[in-house]
Symmetry: C2
Subunit: 158 residues, 2 copies
């Protein structure tokens, strides 16, 4: 039986902040995606390249990559297949666990990364970072960190 608790609607301030947050996310995602498009990459592609390029031996296990990028195994599998066809990564068997696979950054993937990164960073600056004062930035991070924490706790991932 539901306890008949009155709904705590959002105050105007809350509502406003919430909607701004939603809007920024959407517009920002759209814009970054668009800025990446000329290079034939999506944000997803890019994020995977970043993860691999920052990893030991330029490789990661599929599951680790999936959870690092917050995607389902299935989605990642399709994604890697596409990127493999584009020559950005390749799959490689794992010695120690024969069920496992690595996604490995190829030379072409690395090269692409090097070429695209500056543009992407510029885009992130232009549309986000440079629009915030340094103080606002640290405040933002400080405010958001616990939320990330909280949400990570709510596991039950894609």
């Amino acid at each position: 039986m539901e306890t008949e608790t009155a709904t705590r609607w959002l105050t105007d301030t809350e509502q406003c902040a919430w909607r701004t947050h939603l809007e920024v996310n959407r517009l920002l995602t759209y814009q970054l995606e668009k800025d990446l498009q000329p290079f034939g990459l999506t944000m997803n592609d890019y994020e995977i390249l970043v993860n691999l390029s920052e990893s030991e031996d330029l490789r990661m296990r599929m599951s680790d990559l999936a959870s690092a990028t917050l995607q389902s195994k299935s989605r990642l599998s399709h994604q890697i297949t596409r990127m493999e066809n584009a020559g950005l990564v390749r799959r490689e068997n794992c010695e120690s666990d024969r069920r496992g696979l690595f996604a490995v950054l190829t030379d072409h993937g690395m090269e692409t990364m090097r070429k695209v990164a500056p543009h992407h960073v510029a885009s992130v600056r232009r549309h986000f970072i440079d629009l915030l004062s340094p103080e606002a930035l640290t405040e933002l991070d400080k405010a958001l960190k616990p939320i990330a924490e909280h949400l990570r706790g709510h596991r039950g991932r894609p």
Copy 2:
């Protein structure tokens, strides 16, 4: 010819804030979506219901709804078709412009809205609003507003 300008990479602080921001968005979207799922709605559905329910006569022109929700015409068209099949909205011709259509909230749509809204609001509170101090909230809004502004300027919508 590109002017050979050195890339201004992100500082650690910037990088950290940026990644937190990305992460929060993704986890939050996922969580809200998940909390809405038991009611058979997606965030997209919900947002459209909100827009319609707040509009004069519970109706909006397709294009206006598309730009309000930042979707392409095409996507909205499909979306409304689905929601029409679910009985949440219906299409209605526009007298004054015979090319035009309204998406109109049905009684069932309104009813659904009333039933779902409290849960959604609770979800937004639990996973976002209530995790921020009131000051942090206003700061957040103040920081993000100009970004929204900036991005809206960059029109070239989906």
